[in-house]
Symmetry: C2
Subunit: 225 residues, 2 copies
């Protein structure tokens, strides 16, 4: 039985093909110039299939990103101490920031494209999807992907991780906001350009410096609203 039938074999094959084709194209072309039609052709399927599986360009890109970030997101929860649980909050922070910079460096294009592809996430104005694509949104089906179906799963995971670690060490800071600031650098155009130039270490260093400074910060700014 099972109220949810298993995904059909050809569907799985095609989904994989699409994801693979997208990744492949991403390595060879500017992401904003890759069209859905190209992806479909490269994957050997029709455009309709791509949209059927992923709903929109943005969602497809997100799926790819999610795949890329999968390993890291696992590591956070269960991995040897520097990254995984067990080390001190700031050691984990360092390790995680380094890992994130690393992952973004190897996906600049994708990250840039993602930034441009998602209209604004939680808008009311004719936010067509998620409403008329109930089946696709609820898909999941494959254990290997753990598709959460969230709005920005990758960002959210990263953000809450950083935020939690910061809060753990410094309850006096607005951890939530600081985490956003740290992560925002990864979407910044000038910085993405820097990464293209293999200067990722500069970013990593700067983020470390900021983190160190914050955690070591002497006084507690009580709240000067």
């Amino acid at each position: 039985m099972s109220d949810q039938r298993r995904e059909r074999a050809d569907a799985t094959r095609n989904r994989r093909a699409i994801l693979a084709a997208t990744e492949d194209l991403l390595t060879r072309h500017r992401p904003e110039k890759i069209t859905m039609e190209q992806i479909a052709r490269a994957a050997g399927v029709g455009k309709g299939t791509v949209f059927h599986r992923f709903g929109s360009r943005g969602h497809l890109l997100m799926a790819v990103m999610q795949e890329r970030a999968f390993a890291l997101n696992e590591s956070i929860l269960s991995a040897p101490p520097p990254l995984g649980p067990g080390a001190s909050a700031h050691e984990r922070l360092y390790a995680f920031l380094d890992a994130v910079v690393e992952i973004v460096s190897r996906n600049k294009g994708l990250v840039a494209a993602l930034g441009a592809a998602l209209p604004s996430a939680g808008r009311s104005t004719t936010d067509t999807h998620c409403a008329d694509l109930p089946d696709r949104a609820t898909k999941s089906a494959e254990p290997s992907h753990a598709a959460t179906g969230e709005a920005r799963p990758v960002y959210d995971v990263w953000h809450s991780h950083i935020s939690a670690l910061i809060a753990e060490e410094r309850a006096d800071l607005d951890a939530d906001l600081v985490a956003h600031v740290l992560l925002s650098s990864l979407h910044s155009d000038p910085i993405l350009r820097l990464l293209e130039n293999n200067e990722g270490h500069r970013l990593a260093t700067a983020l470390r410096a900021i983190t160190t400074a914050l955690l070591a910060m002497p006084a507690v700014p009580p709240s000067l609203a």
Copy 2:
């Protein structure tokens, strides 16, 4: 005389009308839904005119942003001390960051749209403009706007200002990069959403905290590449 003829009166009138119409629309609609045609209609001119004056959607948006930031950019150079020259670097930093948060809060939409509208600035792949629009790029013409014609004039001014101030206080930091990180928060989607919710003060506070921490930072990380 003057190798550059004065801008024609009707041209000026129309340019102003277009700018005004854009600002107006921006206050009432999601920026990504505003089309060039709408702007033209609202300004009472033809679409061709809009493109003739501004070259592209991105450039138009940038022109508007430039106008909005004009006052602040002037203040940096010549204004009473907290903002203008005369105060200590970190006082100026605080003042400037506050001002920037303020200005971005009152222009979230525009900033978001700008982020999405500029493909990537300095790309080689068929970067058509700036090449086939020499006359428009060199326009300037009106003293009141001081149109520099740069790629991202506003961002660049802000960045180099912050960068210089940081460098002045802490030669050991990668001021350039840190400045990018600070500014990047202003383009971040989650943070823009926050600003929409009138939580700008949280951002301002967080940026202050980061700045304070950095400037007060004890050790000098010598360079752990």
